[in-house]
């Protein structure tokens, strides 16, 4: 049970930090083009702290499930054949590059172009990380995991949590800016509303992907090998309530709150409501994704003796 929690924490937090980092980078790119680098940095750089912390927590959680954590550094040595080794390597590189980018950004070290290159590199490695994480589970002995649904859902989780986490982060960043320096807030407010609208749209699209993927996945399980059928039975049976809850929360968070987020982001003056929407959407979807990942691990029925 403890091991399960550790892996849920690690995969969710790591994927969220990759997603957030990617969203941060993309938003920065477009905001910089529209309103200049300074506004873009002002909007996004504080989130880097949160991303680094979240990633750090995730990696700590991954150590928790080891029987012999002091030997963890050895875990990168078998990248020739082991996806787990590759995942850890990618994770370490992503963390290093991400941290480097964060430090360079905060202290404004080096030319912007260098910082951006490092940032994009980190993002790329982040994508590789999520891919490796998915491949770890694509074992021939794990029918419930060994299909396309795993990488697809890992990436949708990454991006969904990424956009909504950043939504919350941008809202918090705006509140902080307004308190500190009310004068510059107006420009940020408009940027914020624009970004939030995009975030809402992307969230709804990703939700749609999930809601299509999941039934297709369940059907493929139910018509698969004996172990896959067992997994399907677990999801429908003992995990059924959890599954229902997961879907409802995701719908509420990304769908309903996403819709309201979009609505409220259309016009100015509704910053307070906007922040509630953003936080609520993020929390609901975060819980939904955690539940989803819990179901992922709990429905494991491997080919084994």
């Amino acid at each position: 049970m403890l091991r399960e929690l550790a892996l849920i924490a690690f995969t969710i937090l790591a994927q969220m930090s990759v997603g957030a980092f990617l969203v941060l980078g993309v938003v920065k790119f477009f905001v910089a083009r529209k309103a200049g680098q300074e506004e873009a940095d002002r909007m996004g750089d504080r989130s880097l702290i949160a991303i680094i912390i979240v990633l750090g927590l995730g990696m700590l959680a991954s150590l928790w499930h080891l029987g012999n954590p002091l030997s963890a550094p050895r875990a990168v040595t078998n990248f020739a054949t082991s996806w787990l080794s590759r995942e850890i390597l990618a994770g370490v590189v992503f963390a290093v590059l991400g941290l480097l980018y964060a430090v360079l950004q905060w202290f404004k070290l080096g030319p912007i172009i260098l910082r951006n290159i490092i940032g994009w590199l980190a993002g790329l490695v982040g994508i590789v990380l999520v891919l490796c994480m998915a491949m770890v589970y694509m074992l021939p002995t794990q029918p419930a995991w060994n299909n396309l649904a795993t990488p697809i859902s890992f990436f949708t989780t990454t991006l969904l949590l990424g956009v909504l986490a950043m939504g919350a982060a941008y809202v918090a960043n705006y509140a902080y800016l307004k308190k500190k320096n009310p004068g510059c807030a107006d420009q940020q407010c408009e940027l914020l509303r624009n970004v939030l609208r995009w975030i809402a749209v992307v969230a709804v699209i990703l939700l749609g992907i999930e809601f299509v993927l999941i039934p297709v996945y369940l059907v493929s399980l139910a018509t698969g090998s004996p172990q896959a059928v067992e997994s399907a039975k677990l999801i429908a049976g003992p995990l059924g309530l959890t599954f229902l809850f997961r879907m409802i929360l995701a719908f509420l968070g990304a769908g309903v709150f996403g819709f309201f987020l979009y609505q409220n982001a259309q016009s100015a003056g509704r910053e307070k409501v906007l922040s509630y929407m953003a936080y609520a959407a993020f929390i609901l979807v975060f819980v939904a994704e955690v539940l989803g990942r819990f179901i992922f691990y709990s429905s494991q029925v491997g080919i084994t003796l």
């Binding site: 080891l66 012999n68 030997s71 040595t77 082991s82 084994t304």
Partner: protein, 209 residues
């Protein structure tokens, strides 16, 4: 020097007595919860009314046979491929071993193995599994399970030679298909043995708590 050591299992002689499993537990001092060698009763069938005398219930293809399985020391050891710390390796003689000093206890090999061979030892914090009694082999002795079997249903040797003597069967229910990891084992089937993946029965044992 052997190329691929393998176990031989005669399912037609195995009574499911688990003396082999206990011999392994004893020799390797395995605690409750860890069994490097396991024995499964696999069976099925049912009871139906006698066609001519409906007041009698008669067995309808009731069958049971037992299977003793340890580590298969696979030709394609998925555990070794999966291990991030290179703690699992395959020797020149085909035996697959876990180096306890390198294992980090991530249990990924446990997910990768189709036979449930690597098992986590909580005391040591590392994975453990059948090592073909490599210390006994080094002294020219047989694995403990082979020597214990009162039915002489277990043997071992060079995989090619075993195949020449006993045939090519390396998978029966409840073992998984041998296509997954190419286990180094030769099996003489029981008359009721069913091919992997086409079983009509189940493992007869208490479900987990």
């Amino acid at each position: 020097m052997a190329k691929q050591l393998a176990f031989y299992f005669d399912a037609s002689a195995c009574t499911g007595c688990k003396a082999c499993a206990m011999a392994c537990k004893d020799k390797n001092n395995l605690p409750v919860g860890i069994n490097w060698r396991k024995v499964f009763d696999y069976g099925g069938g049912g009871w139906i009314q006698h066609p001519a005398h409906p007041e009698f219930m008669i067995p309808n293809n009731v069958f049971v046979y037992s299977t003793s399985t340890a580590c298969m020391h696979c030709e394609k050891p998925l555990c070794a491929e999966a291990c991030p710390a290179k703690a699992i390796f395959k020797r020149d003689d085909g035996v697959v071993l876990i180096d306890k000093d390198l294992c980090i206890g991530c249990r990924y090999c446990e997910w990768a193995c189709p036979y449930g061979a690597p098992q986590f030892n909580e005391e040591l914090g590392v994975m453990t599994k059948c090592d073909f009694c490599q210390d006994y082999l080094a002294q020219g002795q047989n694995p403990a399970c082979v020597d214990q079997c009162p039915q002489r249903a277990l043997g071992f040797g060079e995989l090619d030679e075993l195949r020449q003597m006993y045939g090519n069967i390396n998978a029966i229910e409840p073992l998984p298909s041998s296509d997954i990891s190419h286990p180094a084992i030769v099996i003489t089937p029981h008359k009721h043995s069913q091919p992997s993946g086409q079983g009509t029965g189940r493992i007869i044992k208490l479900p987990e708590v």
